[in-house]
């Protein structure tokens, strides 16, 4: 047993397009330790989002090994993957991806529905976490009644509701202004301080600087992987 939550070896991902097979990820190898704070960077089309989707068990690799918590994901069926997405991983999207018709409480409680928790418990947990996110007065609001920053907080609350140990965020501040971005990043910083593993995809250096480890993708390969300079200086 190692302390690695994520171990990736020889990972490939191809897309079948009408023009032929298009390789997006080529021989990616990566190990992430529990409790780390990782920023994945790279230009558009470098494969970082595809990589993130594979990490989040939303997509399957074409080839290669992905071990999550020392368990090979390849052998898992769709139901087991759904369980991983539900309990082990919390995913935060750039576009928030909240259900427009549901109240904030219902949105946050949704993962608990699929975890088969009782309704009273679900509501209690969801309200609690929304309060911690500073959204105590918006329980019954719809997502379109609150600001983008608030919506992203709701999305983070939803990602946290099943207490996953790994939080994946794909450009979580991409749709937000810089002040709101800072507020959101503070939440991620705090989550990391209490022991969660955080992986953030971003193309902004300011965001990447929050992380302790920075990885850069280019043309489907990892071209840079280093500790944050500030972090090194601190040490």
């Amino acid at each position: 047993m190692t302390n690695n939550v994520i171990e990736i070896t020889g990972l490939y991902k191809d897309y079948d397009t009408p023009a032929g097979v298009f390789p997006v990820l080529k021989d990616v190898n990566l190990t992430i330790e529990a409790g780390d704070y990782v920023a994945i960077m790279g230009p558009s089309g470098s494969g970082k989002s595809t990589f993130m989707n594979i990490l989040g068990c939303l997509d399957r690799p074409t080839k290669g090994e992905y071990k999550l918590n020392n368990q090979s994901v390849k052998s898992l069926n769709n139901n087991q993957l759904a369980a991983l997405r539900n309990r082990t991983i919390g995913f935060v999207f750039q576009g928030f991806n909240l259900l427009a018709r549901s109240s904030l409480v219902d949105n946050v409680a949704l993962p608990l529905v699929y975890a088969k928790d009782q309704k009273e418990l679900r509501t209690k947990i969801a309200k609690n976490i929304l309060e911690r996110m500073g959204l105590g007065q918006y329980f019954e609001s719809r997502p379109n009644q609150i600001s983008g920053g608030q919506q992203q907080r709701v999305a983070i609350a939803r990602a946290l509701v099943n207490q996953p140990r790994i939080i994946l965020a794909d450009e979580p501040t991409g749709n937000l202004d810089s002040k709101t971005s800072d507020e959101i990043m503070k939440i991620f910083d705090e989550l990391n301080q209490i022991g969660n593993t955080i992986i953030i995809v971003t193309h902004e250096n300011a965001i990447a600087d929050h992380a302790r480890r920075q990885i850069r993708f280019l043309d489907g390969k990892i071209v840079e992987d280093h500790r944050n300079k500030k972090e090194l200086e601190k040490a």
Partner: protein, 407 residues
């Protein structure tokens, strides 16, 4: 889990009210049509069954005149080939339990200022036992009345209504039939419609001898229009029919290969035909209604397919946070079922309302059976599952990442 999914299905339906309503309407009309048509069909069957029961069982009617329709022969029942002695001879056959000679004709009847034209039946008291017909008040006339050709009459309920109204007790009153006075001795029980649609209560029954001598006096003495005969039981029907044919042919000296001057009709067989016809009609109505139910189901499938496409992104989000294929399948299946079951409830209500309306407006007999409601319900629920399954499984089989990327 189930309850929260149910409430979610409810919300999803509420999100597009008009569309949900229109989809549901297909179900409402389908179920409503099934319930209504079955009520009408079963009502018709019931009404025919009742008139068959009212007719008496294992009956033959022997009519004078041939059953042949070719040539210029007069209609059966019009010539005077049968007489009282034929009737008595039929009654002596081993397979026959009871018989009654019958003379019929219409006549003008008058009581006080009221008059009406009513079918008059002249017969003997055994007619009442064959037809299981008793008086509601007063008493039947007797064999003695027949022997002495007394001017006594039994009246049907419709006649009572027409001549006397509600207030006057007709028993003991004297009415005039073809200007002769008759004493009313009894009022007959209501029989309702016969299976060929006549009002059996619009009749006056008098002793056959009186009818022959005082009312239809221009006939050959002793002649009767028809003879009603009852076989001892159902299994003697065939033997009895042959026996009657042979007997009357012999009595009328009809040679072989010559047509009879009378005809024997098996009323029980005719009744069975009528009842089979009603059953076929009822099934036909049900089948037509079922087609609209099917169309309603296809409507549900259509809308669910649209709904799955529209909500692809939502499905992706749900999968991303841990919904399994089964959860998605159940969600959409439940939605289809809620639409079809709610539609069904409204449809049953509408169908029942329509049935009562038909009863009130047309006066048709309606039979609402629990069976037809249960049937409509279970069909509707299975339509929800059947037509909801394909769209739901299409949703469940979406790959999370593709569903999330769907615009």
């Amino acid at each position: 889990m189930f309850f929260s999914m149910l409430s979610e299905a409810w919300h999803a339906m509420g999100a597009n009210r008009l569309r949900t309503f229109l989809t549901m309407l297909g179900m409402v009309i389908g179920v409503g049509a099934v319930v209504l048509m079955m009520a009408i069909g079963e009502g018709a069957q019931q009404s025919i069954k009742r008139s068959i029961d009212s007719m008496g069982s294992n009956l033959f009617v022997i009519l004078s005149g041939s059953s042949s329709t070719s040539g210029s022969r007069s209609a059966s029942g019009n010539s005077s080939a049968l007489n009282m002695n034929d009737a008595t001879a039929i009654g002596d056959l081993d397979d026959i339990g009871a018989f009654a000679p019958i003379s019929v004709g219409n006549a003008q009847i008058i009581y006080a200022g009221n008059n009406s034209n009513t079918p008059i039946v002249g017969t003997t008291p055994s007619y009442f036992s064959i037809r299981r017909w008793d008086v509601e008040s007063g008493e039947l006339f007797s064999d003695a009345d027949v022997r002495s050709a007394n001017r006594v009459a039994l009246v049907g309920k419709t006649v009572v209504e027409n001549l006397f109204g509600d207030d006057i007790d007709p028993i003991g009153k004297t009415i005039r039939i073809k200007k002769s006075p008759f004493l009313i001795v009894g009022v007959l029980e209501g029989k309702g419609q016969s299976f060929d649609g006549r009002d059996q209560d619009d009749t006056i029954i008098v002793p056959i001898t009186t009818a022959q001598r005082k009312l239809f006096g221009n006939q050959i003495p002793g002649s009767v229009r028809m003879i009603m005969a009852q076989a001892k039981s159902e299994k003697y029907m065939g033997v009895a029919e042959d026996g009657i044919n042979d007997l009357i042919r012999q009595r009328h000296n009809i040679r072989e290969n010559t047509e009879s001057d009378f005809s024997v009709r098996n009323l029980t067989a005719m009744a069975k035909t009528a009842s089979d016809t009603a059953k076929t009609m009822s099934m036909l109505l049900g089948a037509i209604a079922s087609i609209s139910l099917l169309v309603g189901g296809i409507g549900i499938m259509n809308i669910m397919l649209v709904s799955v496409t529209e909500r692809t992104r939502e499905i992706g989000i749900r999968m991303a946070i841990g919904a399994r294929e089964k959860d998605i399948l159940l969600q959409f299946l439940l939605e289809a079922c809620v639409i079809s079951i709610v539609g069904c409830v409204i449809g049953v209500g509408l169908g029942l309302g329509g049935a009562l309306l038909v009863k009130k407006m047309v006066g048709a007999e309606i039979l609402i059976s629990m069976q037809s409601i249960v049937l409509a319900f279970s069909v509707a629920a299975s339509i929800g599952v059947f037509f909801g399954y394909y769209p739901a499984s299409k949703a469940a089989k979406l790959r999370p990442i593709e569903a999330l990327r769907y615009q």
